[in-house]
């Protein structure tokens, strides 16, 4: 409703800050390998389904026998964006480029594209996945241009 002055509201005094303990025990191999700069994911030994993100149970045949395989790091840019209005928990970040890259075996990964500019990014261009660690010791990964 369009109003000349804002109607009165009660500004709640009770605040809520949420941090989640996200279980990663079944996919920890990914995060451990990432610390060594390696990229692995799960492949079902029963039906051959390759998954990313990795998962301990096969989404295709529902089997529980998966092996960890090398994902490779060479990728082709499928699509991208430049996030200029960032969410509240990313307000400290400069605007960032996010891309979806297709790896050699057909898996796709979404990640930041480091050092990009709008002029340089073109779908189809070559990218490489690289591991990074944050100031707090957390591991993550980015695409870089090759």
């Amino acid at each position: 409703m369009t109003m000349d002055s804002e109607p009165p509201t009660l500004h709640s005094r009770r605040t809520l800050s949420l941090r989640f303990n996200v279980p990663i025990s079944k996919t920890n191999r990914f995060w451990q390998s990432l610390k060594e700069g390696k990229f692995v994911t799960t492949k079902c030994t029963d039906c051959g389904e390759l998954s990313f993100p990795p998962q301990a149970d096969c989404p295709r045949c529902m089997g529980g026998n998966v092996e960890w395989v090398d994902m490779g790091t060479e990728a082709e840019l499928v699509t991208f964006t430049h996030v200029q209005v960032t969410p509240t928990s990313f307000v400290q970040s400069d605007p960032y480029f996010v891309g979806v890259g297709r790896l050699g075996q057909g898996l796709k990964v979404l990640a930041w594209i480091e050092g990009a500019t709008l002029e340089k990014l073109v779908p189809g261009m070559k990218l490489r996945l690289e591991a990074r660690s944050g100031e707090d010791g957390s591991s993550y990964y980015v695409f870089v241009q090759t």
Binding site: M1, T9, T79, T81, V83, V85, T86, T88, V100, L110
Partner: protein, 390 residues
Amino acid sequence: MPLLRQAAIVGIGHSKFGRRTDVNLGELAFESIKQAVQDAGIDKKQIENVTVGSAGGWYEEALPAVVVNEYAGLGGVGTMRVEAACASGSAAVRSAYLSIASGEADIALAVGLEKMTEVDTLTSVELMGRAGSYLWEFENFGMTFPAYYALFAVAHMKRFGTTEEDLARVAVKAHHYASMNPLAQFQKEITIEKVLSSQVVSWPLKLYDACPLTDGSAAVVLASEDVARKLTDTPVWIKGIGVSSDSANLSKRDNYVGLAATVDASRKAYARAKVTPNDLDVATCHDCFTIAELMAYEDLGFCAKGEGAKLLKDGQTEMGGRIPVNVDGGLKAKGHPVGATGVSMMVEISKQLRGEAGRHQVPIKNGRGLVHNVGGTGHYCYVTVLSRDQ
């Protein structure tokens, strides 16, 4: 599987959409519920169940359904809140529909509701950005709702030559029709230049490519065939609902030029309602971003893949065109109170089929309209075919 009974919309209600700091959650829902009950000409005691569609998280109440029911004096009814992100409203209508089709109820109420402006804007941006796969797409990469749709815009532009101007044309159309809808959040026309020069939110999408944050509610009363015939001369029949979904991770999608969930849900809805897109007089499509409306034309079969921009440019989705789309202003300019949107779409198509849409009434020939409601970035899709004739 054939359903046991038919159901019709017999009462509609719709609040003013916008920044509604003048009302709390219960008061906002009441505006629509009261209208819908009065429009149906029933006593509220006849309502056997109430389904509230609301994504929630940005308002203070954890149990919106009971808060809404208490305020409206609907204690004792069977009730729940349903969530299908931005398609929560259609999910609520489907729940009410199934309760009637199954024979459980004769009269059911579906309420769509959202209050998105009680938290600050960037917190709302955050909550919507988490609507996907938190660990793999938000924790490290801070995806936002515009960013997800921007991935589709870039791919669509690359593959089909769609331009930023084509996208801007969707926004101009939306604002044009919103100016004829007194319940819409935005009441002013805009120009292509204004869209193109607005702040980039997530390139190539700009502020005017995006729907606003909106508070709003909408409600529909559904009734079984016998009851509907007694209550009204203008029941709007639910002829077919198609539902589908897709991966949480956007990285798992086959392509970024359309939403597979829309293709699947619409084909199911067309088959159940025994219609084709050519039988429709009017449609509401899920235009949370400008690119979403162009993809919807294509995915719903209004035109071939890649020809969405042309369909709009040729005027085919305007009033007087082959299939007028979002002549109520759409999510883009009417506003998008997430959980309310699907019910708002049902209200709009009901008005059109009854001939009560006022300044934005389109000619009704076949008596059929479509509601296309997407949740998230094609995570959910609900498509509903409504008909004037049983």
